[in-house]
Amino acid sequence: MTVAAPPKTKHNLKLIYQKPESLTDSPTHYCPGCTHGVAHRLVAEVLDEMGLREKAIGIAPVGCAVLAYEYFNIDGVEAAHGRAPAMATGIKRVLPDRVVFTYQGDGDLASIGMAEILHAAGRGERITVIFINNAIYGMTGGQMAPTTLPEQVTTSSPRGRDVATQGFPIRMSEILAQMDGAAYVVRRSLHDPNNIRKAKKAIRLAFEAQVRGLGFAMVELLSTCPTNWGMTPIEAMNWVRDHMVPAFPLGDYKVAPELQKLRV
C-alpha cells in the first residue's frame, strides 16, 4: 500500500493545518471574534472526515449565516426565516440517501421557526441541525432573542430582559430531547479550545446519527456575538463561559444507544 506523502511547502515544511475541502475559498463576512466561523469549520472538517462532501446538501438560515451556502463547498439552498427544517424535510424525503443539514440561529430556530423544528424532531426527520445559540439577533442589529438571558440588555430590551413582560429564555435542547423522534440532542460551547474539540465530536455524532438513519439530530452550540453584545472577542468568550453556560447547561440530552457505543 502506498501512502500519499504529506503536502510540502516551498521551503519543504510539512503542512499540518489546512482549509477543509468542504469550505470554499470565499472570505466570510463574520465579525472578528464571532464563533459562526468556528462552527462552519467544524462542520466542514466533519464532512471531510466522513467523506460526505459530495453527498451533502446544506440549508442556510435567515440570520448572520444567511450566506453560509457561499462558504460551504457543497450543494446548498437558502431557506425562509425559520423554515430550514421544513425545507430540509422536503429535500430529504425526495433524496433520502443524501446528507441534509440545517444551520440555524436562535431567532431562526427558537422563535419564528419553533413549529418547524419541533415537528422535524417529532417526526424523527433524518436531518442534522447545527443550532447557533448566541442569545441575540445578530443580523438585524442586536434585538432580543428567545434565548436572551434575564436582564440581558439588547436593542429591544434596553432596560434588560424583564422576564415579567418579556418572558424567559427557552432551552431548546431540553425541549427537543423530549421528542421520541430525536436520536441525538446535545449542547456544547465554542468559547475555548477544549470545548471546541468536544463540539466537533458532537457534530460528528450528529452526522453519524443521520448516516445510520437513527432519527433527528441536533447540536446546540453556545456562540459569541461580540458586535451586538458590545464586547471584545475575549470578553465575549468569557461571557459565554460565565453567563451562558450556567443558563444553558452543556451536556448530552439525548443519545441513541447506537451512538453511545460509537468511538469517533
Binding site: I57, L95, A115
Partner: protein, 369 residues
C-alpha cells in the same frame, strides 16, 4: 382509458400521480382534504413521498425544498392555507424553481365557510406572496378539465421555472363526474442542471432568493419577467361557446362559467343571441381575445362567485369599448342558471349604458338601501 365516476379532489390527485408527481406535502382543509387523503393512500403505494405537514407554512417550505432538487412536487389547500403559504410561494418564485399548487376555493374572508367560492382570484393571480412576480393560474370548470390541467401544470411550471396554480372552487373539488384519466407517465430520471443533489464530481450549486446587490436582484427580476412574457405569449387559454353570431357575451371562469353556460343555452332557446367566453388561464389573462370581443359585442355580462374580482381585468381588457354588467354571488353562494338567465334577459332587453358602473348597479340590486 375508460371513463370512471370520480370526485374532483380525488381525480386531481390521481391526475398528478399519473403526471409523475414525486412528492406531495399538504395540510388538511375543507374543501380539498380528499386530495390530501388520496395522496396519503396512493403515494406510498407508488414508493413516492407523502407527508402531512404541521401547517401550510411548513408544507410549502417542504415543497420548496423538494422543488430545489428538481423533483415534481405539489401541494393543495384552500384560501386560508394560501394565505399561510404566501411566504413560501414568494421564495419559490424568487428562487425560480417549479411547483404546482391546487387551491380549492371556499367562502371567505377569514374563516368564512366551506362552500364553493371564487374569492381567492385576486390573491392567486398575484401569487399571494411579496415581491415582483406573476404565477401562472389555471381555472378548470369541470372535473375532466381539472384532470387535464393538472397534467399540463407540471410541464408549464418546469418550462417557465415558476409556480403554477390550479384554482378550483369547492364545487369542482367535491363534485362527482365521469372522467378519463391519462395513462401514467414514467418518473423523470434526469434532473435539471440547476437542481441541488450533492456536489459529486462538479462544482457546488446553490439555490437562493437572496441577491444582496440591487443591480443583481434587478437582473433576476428582469429574467423572471422575461420568462413571464414568454408565458403570456404561449399560455393563454380560454373556451368560447356560441360566440360566432353573439351580440351579448357572458364572461365567467370555473363554476361560474359553467353555470353561465346553462343560462346561455336557455337564452339561446329564447332567441337571444348570446355566447359565453370562459377564461381558463386567469394568468396570463386572455386580454387580447376579450379586447377583440369588446369591439364587436353590444354588451358584456361578467358572472363570478365573488364581488367582481375578474370584472376588473375584463374592464381593463375591454378598455371602455363595450358597456358592461356584473352579476356575482359571494360568501359561498353559487348562482343558479335561472339567476344568470334573468340577467341575460335584462341585458338584451335593456342594455347597459356606456357609463354604467357594473359593480355599483349589482350591489344596489343585491342590497337595496
Amino acid at each position: 382509458m375508460p371513463r370512471e365516476l370520480m370526485k374532483g379532489n380525488v381525480a386531481m390527485a390521481e391526475a398528478a400521480i399519473r403526471a409523475g408527481l414525486e412528492a406531495y406535502f399538504g395540510y388538511p382543509i375543507t374543501p380539498q382534504s380528499e386530495l390530501l387523503e388520496h395522496m396519503a393512500k396512493r403515494m406510498p403505494e407508488e414508493g413516492r413521498a407523502f407527508l402531512q405537514a404541521e401547517s401550510e407554512v411548513a408544507a410549502i417550505n417542504m415543497v420548496y425544498g423538494a422543488a430545489c432538487t428538481g423533483a415534481r412536487v405539489m401541494t393543495s389547500t384552500s384560501g386560508p392555507g394560501i394565505s399561510l403559504m404566501a411566504e413560501g410561494i414568494s421564495y419559490i418564485a424568487g428562487t425560480e424553481v417549479p411547483a404546482v399548487i391546487v387551491d380549492v376555493m371556499r367562502g371567505g374572508p377569514g374563516l368564512g365557510n366551506i362552500a364553493p367560492s371564487q374569492g381567492d382570484y385576486r390573491q392567486v393571480i398575484h401569487g399571494a406572496g411579496h415581491g415582483d412576480f406573476f404565477p401562472i393560474v389555471l381555472a378548470p370548470a369541470s372535473v375532466q378539465e381539472a384532470v387535464d390541467l393538472i397534467g399540463e401544470a407540471f410541464d408549464i411550471a418546469e418550462k417557465y421555472r415558476t409556480v403554477v396554480f390550479v384554482v378550483a372552487d369547492g364545487s369542482i373539488g367535491q363534485m362527482m363526474e365521469p372522467v378519463e384519466l391519462p395513462e401514467p407517465r414514467p418518473l423523470r430520471r434526469e434532473r435539471p442542471d440547476w437542481a441541488v443533489s450533492g456536489a459529486a464530481g462538479r462544482p457546488h450549486r446553490t439555490l437562493t432568493s437572496l441577491y444582496l446587490k440591487p443591480e443583481v436582484e434587478e437582473r433576476i427580476n428582469l429574467r423572471i419577467l422575461k420568462r413571464w412574457q414568454e408565458a403570456e405569449a404561449n399560455e393563454v387559454r380560454y373556451r368560447e361557446y356560441y360566440l360566432d353570431d353573439a351580440e351579448f357575451v357572458v364572461l365567467g371562469f370555473g363554476t361560474a362559467g359553467r353555470v353561465a353556460l346553462s343560462a346561455v343555452r336557455a337564452a339561446r332557446e329564447e332567441g337571444i343571441r348570446v355566447g359565453l367566453f370562459r377564461p381558463v388561464s386567469l394568468r396570463p389573462f386572455p386580454y387580447q381575445a376579450i379586447r377583440d370581443l369588446a369591439q364587436r359585442a353590444k354588451a358584456f355580462l361578467v358572472v363570478e362567485m365573488n364581488g367582481g374580482q375578474m370584472l376588473e381585468d375584463v374592464q381593463a381588457a375591454a378598455q371602455g369599448q363595450v358597456p358592461m354588467r356584473f352579476y356575482g354571488r359571494m360568501g359561498g353562494m353559487v348562482p343558479f342558471p335561472d339567476e344568470v338567465l334573468e340577467e341575460i334577459r335584462t341585458l338584451a332587453a335593456d342594455p347597459p349604458t356606456p357609463t354604467e358602473n357594473p359593480r355599483a348597479r349589482w350591489l344596489a340590486h343585491m342590497m337595496p338601501a
